[in-house]
């Protein structure tokens, strides 16, 4: 009885894995369905979030809509629709690998270990990890968190760094941004670590932004990229061409200004060296 059960379990597992290896390129899939399905976030302002008017918007979504979609339209010679699905750090790679989404456009850091499993586009944003604290709190940066209760987002690169560099900090990991912020607001933790830009976004969206401060030097390097299924270079090329055209034609900087400019959702000036780095990724036509 037990042996037979094990047998069926293995068969079931085998079927589900065989299913993953269906050979159809992403471009063929998009051509057939007429839809580009992206995995993105609902709670990461201003990259991808649901705004006051209940619209699902953000910087990452704008890049896909205004820079990448036109390239696909031209390439496939039809009007491609955009469909958004919620993704989280734990679900985004499985979502890609199971063909549920075609790309991940949110706040995903390009890392070497992730590149073993997915391919990344050019870097479209650069930031680093910092801390969000109540104004005047004891935490001033990663040097001052020993023994403190620190919240992090589960599945983020920041949690990994803290665990390795300051093992004495009491790290509490929450599945999403709102829960981590709630824990900070209630005093369950004394600081919340995430990428600086996301903390700035959270602060700007808080009921009383002046109560909060983003502190500390960057203690990590977080280049954001768009993730795609591995070994699908035609699709990756289309995505990269979209990003390069946007960087070369100023479209990227218009979108940047809309979200991070002085009148944007989260004012975050683009450093000259960052701008130069982004532009130098553009290769000649």
């Amino acid at each position: 009885m037990k042996r037979r059960f094990c047998f069926w379990l293995i068969v079931l597992l085998g079927i589900s894995i065989a299913d993953l290896s269906r050979a159809e390129t992403t471009l063929e899939k998009i051509d057939k369905s007429g839809t580009l399905i992206i995995g993105t976030r609902t709670g990461s302002p201003p990259f991808a979030y649901v705004n006051k008017n209940n619209e699902w918007v953000g910087f990452s979504i704008d890049l896909v809509e205004k820079a990448i979609l036109p390239v696909l339209n031209k390439k496939l010679n039809k009007q491609i629709k955009l469909e958004k699905k919620e993704s989280a750090p734990q679900t985004r790679i499985p979502l890609l690998q199971s063909n549920a989404v075609d790309l991940i456009a949110e706040t995903m850091t390009d890392t070497q270990s992730r590149r073993d499993n997915v391919d990344f586009s050019l870097t479209f944003f650069v930031t680093g990890a910092q801390f969000l604290v109540k104004k005047g709190g004891a935490i001033k940066g990663i040097q001052t968190i020993a023994g403190k209760r620190i919240a992090a987002q589960q599945g983020s690169t920041n949690a990994k760094i803290i665990r390795e560099r300051v093992p004495s900090a009491k790290l509490l990991e929450f599945p999403d941004q709102p829960a981590a912020f709630q824990a900070l607001a209630q005093g369950q933790v004394q600081g919340y670590t995430n990428d600086g830009i996301q903390l700035a976004g959270l602060k700007a969206k808080a009921p009383k932004p002046d109560d909060w401060a983003v502190v500390g030097e960057f203690f990590s390097y977080e280049p954001y990229g768009i993730a795609m299924r591995k070994n699908d270079s035609d699709f990756r090329q289309a995505v990269n061409v979209g990003l390069m055209d946007a960087l070369a034609s100023n479209l990227y900087f218009e979108i940047y200004d809309k979200w991070f400019g002085p009148k944007g959702e989260v004012p975050y000036p683009l450093l000259p060296e960052t701008k130069r780095f982004l532009q130098m990724q553009v290769v000649p036509k």
């Binding site: 290896s21 734990q90 690998q97 992730r114 509490l172 599945p175 209630q186 070994n231």
Partner: protein, 241 residues
């Protein structure tokens, strides 16, 4: 687009230790919550059948309130809503000593206590009225009747549904990851973060839950056979499964 399965990530490096830690935390939170649930369930279940109306109302209020609100909401309530009601010193002490774990125990225990109480009530109500009358006629008080006759029989009757509730409780303990408790599901996600191998990590978690729950249902089946009162409960062939 081939996905390369790499099972060795499950025992190389720290991942094996994480899975074990996760399993231990799941066992800890589940067993403490189970004790709490059983205590609350027994009291509330017995009170709901008591011949004194205010007791019945009180127990009904508890059951209906706690079982009809999602467990996730209770997790947030015990973790975010409860501490501010405590004195500052106790609050700080709790936060430094795993407040999320105790909040998880309370949320799971109180929620499942409400569900357990319904199981126990149905056990008590399935006992023939003549048992109550016989107990009364031998001079036992209401309290003695419940303690010595009714509840011991009811507990034997409800082993199959109680096993069900226990397994549910163990699996529901994964909801505690929303408040940062590093239990088994949390650790499988952790492995996925570090290795980017989601399928292997989830498969490992699935197998551990399956083995754990199978072990418990087997154990409960043994208990059921051991404590059965000969001739009292129709056993049939049910215990052979």
């Amino acid at each position: 687009m081939n996905y390369q399965l790499n099972w060795s990530i499950l025992w190389s490096g720290q991942t094996g230790g994480w899975l074990l830690n996760g399993l231990l935390t799941t066992l800890e939170i589940s067993s403490l919550a189970w004790l709490l649930a059983l205590t609350l369930g027994n009291v509330a279940g017995a009170l709901r059948t008591a011949p004194i109306p205010p007791f019945r109302w009180l127990a009904s209020a508890y059951v209906e309130f706690f079982r009809n609100v999602p467990l996730l909401v209770w997790m947030f309530f015990w973790y975010f809503g409860m501490p501010p009601l405590l004195p500052q010193a106790l609050q700080d002490w709790l936060l430094d000593h795993g407040a999320e774990f105790w909040a998880g125990v309370c949320a799971l225990g109180v929620y499942h206590g409400a569900r357990f109480s319904e199981v126990i009530r149905s056990g008590i109500q399935s006992i023939p009225k003549t048992q109550f009358e016989a107990a009364h006629s031998t001079g036992l008080t209401v309290w003695q009747t419940y303690r010595l006759i009714i509840v011991p029989i009811a507990l034997r009757l409800i082993i199959p549904p109680a096993t069900n509730e226990t397994l549910n409780l163990i699996k529901n303990s994964s909801v505690a990851l929303t408040i940062g408790v590093a239990e088994l599901t949390f650790q499988t996600r952790q492995i996925e973060t570090y290795t980017a191998k989601a399928f292997e990590a989830l498969a490992a978690g699935t197998v551990v839950y399956l083995v754990l729950c199978l072990a418990i249902s087997t154990l409960m089946a043994v208990v059921e056979r051991r404590v059965a009162i000969p001739g009292m409960i129709a056993q049939g062939n049910a215990s052979e499964f």
